[in-house]
């Protein structure tokens, strides 16, 4: 039930309460509540659950995860030297 999927914000309507908008999920468009993403702008990606955007996708972090995995081709020693987990630990 906690299924939530990323979609691209196409339109924002702040004139209604709660704030609503149009979000595209791979071409399928839905009206979504954007009230909890106050800094949302068109073209942002948001994570949507039961018609509500609950988070704005952090592009930098998304790329970081993929980059870490890309780097995993190397050996174990190299990984230890990288200490990639610091990237996530620093957020605590």
């Amino acid at each position: 039930m906690c299924l939530a999927i990323p979609g691209k914000v196409l339109e924002i309507d702040n004139s209604v309460q709660p704030a609503m908008g149009k979000v595209s999920f791979g071409g399928i468009q839905k009206r979504v509540c954007l009230e909890w993403i106050p800094d949302v702008v068109v073209d942002d990606y948001v994570i949507v659950h039961v018609g509500f955007a609950i988070s704005k996708m952090n592009e930098e972090e998304a790329q970081e995860t993929l980059k870490l995995i890309e780097q995993m081709e190397g050996g174990l020693e190299e990984l230890k030297a990288d200490e990639p987990r610091d990237e996530t630990r620093k957020q605590m």
Binding site: I5, I54, L66
Partner: protein
Amino acid sequence: MRYIDEYRSEAAAKRMATRIRQVTTHPWTLMEICGGQTYTIVKYGLEELLPDEITLVHGPGCPVCVTPLELIDKAIVIASTPGVIFTSFGDMLRVPGSSKDLLTVKAEGGDVRMVYSPLDAVKIAQSCPEKRVVFFGVGFETTAPANAMAVWQAKRLGLKNFSVLCSHVLVPPAIEALLSSPTNRVQGFLAAGHVCTVMGYEEYIPLALRYQTPIVVTGFEPVDILQGVYMTVRQLEEGRVEVENQYARSVRREGNVPARKLMAEVFQTTNRNWRGIGEIPNSGYALSPEYADYDAEKIFSVEGIKTRESEECIAGQVLQGLKKPHQCPAFGTGCTPEHPLGAPMVSSEGACAAYYHFGRFRLGRTSAPEVVVT
């Protein structure tokens, strides 16, 4: 789709799995909390990629599965009341109550409607002022703010014909109940990424420290889950105990502050009965006194309904990670998705349904040769 396909890459998953094998030297038992994660693990056969030392047990994070039978019975009484439009997410409609399910109420003439969002239920209440509209408000912290918004909106609009049958459950008290149980065998947790998207992960830090158990906030795609496993195993192997965040593209430490603010206004914590597990203190949300006029349990006087659980279904043990679904004598025979005995066989996120649909119980180390599904 962007932000999904990249995390389903076979090459990345294999790379991650290789790394897990390289760092694993001891046997470890990890639990993924969320039913959505269980679904991914079983669908993609991720356990087959892991070294034999690592056991994944499936947690209680399927709201359909942990909703107590008596709440389903209350829903059925309300939905059968003339003049009521009963609205719900689709997956609650097929959960068996003690005599029938909500779809049967619909077949018998009840006005039971599936909605995509709680705000759709509010719209129905606006357009049908002569009817009483009830929304079945179940779910974890991910769903709770959406239901809070529906109640808040109904109050703002002055709707007198809208109410919620509210039974929200919370993850951290369930983790604590599992960790403090004498039968616990879980050594590390993959926390639920979308619950933490809403709530953040600060409340997990004292839990991890108190029980000396690593917790890694984890996403839902195969590569996310393998990376969550890798991060947890590394902590265990290195003797570290931390709360780490694998799903940083969605989860911030403080969660979604405006959503949490609304929840704090509309809800208050309460003790909740978890199906198959029992009562856990302060493990759920109920409507706060300010919003008591929207409480369907009070409006329809169903608070007194008490129901005992079936003894045939071992859902409680499955939800606590003590047994795998195929170890149930009724699995695939007396209990199937078409004729479920318990909720984990109903929801696609239920461990029993996932095992049934993807046939994982017939493979490798989870094999159970005595169980054959035709």
